[in-house]
Symmetry: C2
């Protein structure tokens, strides 16, 4: 896990659909200033060329602040942008295919939504496993059933791979996720949903650090 | 152009949304039997893992028949499947990025819909340029304005790169496209829209061969 930031960390997902008029660079800079440990860029429904452009712009800002960028779903965009890695879900290109495309030094993350998926994921060449949705979320329209902290605890008992809690995480409940075994909390609305992005990221970081 | 099949050729696009219950392997086999020169697999709206699976299955059939497979939009899927190349549009990953990802031996094709785009495309590291829609088409909901054979003629006068005519091409009008300068005709409905796939491909091949 030498490539991941020190655990536990805050892992914001910069969803291009939630920019709400803000610039990618500005948001990335605020997330970095707030102490994000890793930054994921997600552009579902965005044209591939525009996604590549956004990843490059986020990276221009993030890298200068020591923050690595992960691309959601798309190893080709990660490769083209020279990003640090990719995060894929159950229906995306398989983690093993991503690993072959990106090489051993890249970060490959994989989403799971059940214990069976977690067990299978732990056998894949991944750097972390995301588990969720831990809490109810409104950000993902097609979100799976809430798995609660119970799945995090079961996952923690099963694998030593870093676990990323995702789904409905806020500064108010982030500590619960970490106490259940999460090494990181992935957040979208909690940082992009309104208010000062850097300050909200900082609050999450404090919650996560205080819980570990 | 050593990697492309002998010109002119028929270039079917196996659109996974148009399978209509038919198996990918069966359709690919019929297209090969009908004399397709190159086969593109397109899966817009299909999950990435399912697209990869379909490309692999099409390829298992096509390669054994000497037919190369090109993946629409996705160089990562092409790489993961070991496909012959990728076809991208104006809003996708740029051809130069695809070339870097896939290497010099891959086929990279690029769509254009105007003379300005054609001129720009001719400066990119592409193996062919698609021009269209040459005729009216119903297959692509967001299709651009019909460019007619006029753009094909202008393109032919501008570049020696192989030109692929696309959009509304049938056995009845394919000769017009070739006479206007096309080196290949890309077809979807004309082969997948009903009837015997191999026979419809054969009819297109005869039309194209007779026109050149």
């Amino acid at each position: 896990v030498a490539r991941l930031p020190p655990l536990p960390f805050v892992y914001p997902i910069l969803d291009l659909a939630l920019l709400d008029g803000r610039g990618v660079e500005d948001v990335a800079a605020a997330l970095a200033a707030g102490g994000a440990g890793l930054l994921q860029v997600r552009g579902k429904g965005v044209a591939d060329g525009a996604l590549l452009d956004a990843v490059r712009r986020a990276q221009g800002v993030a890298r200068a602040r020591g923050l690595d960028v992960i691309v959601n779903d798309r190893p080709d965009v990660a490769l083209a942008a020279g990003a640090a890695g990719v995060h894929v879900g159950q229906d995306d290109l398989p983690p093993a295919a991503c690993r072959r495309l990106l090489g051993p030094a890249a970060i490959v993350g994989f989403s799971t939504h059940s214990f069976d998926q977690l067990v299978a994921a732990a056998r894949e060449p991944v750097d972390y496993i995301a588990v969720g949705p831990v809490f109810a979320t409104a950000t993902k329209a097609d979100a799976e059933a809430v798995v609660g902290t119970a799945l995090l605890r079961a996952a923690r008992a099963h694998t030593r791979l870093p676990l990323v809690a995702i789904g409905g995480i806020t500064a108010a409940n982030a500590a619960l996720a970490v106490q259940a075994g999460a090494d990181a909390v992935a957040v979208i609305s909690a940082v992009l949903g309104g208010g000062d992005v850097a300050q909200r990221t900082r609050a999450l970081r404090a919650a996560v650090a205080g819980a570990s």
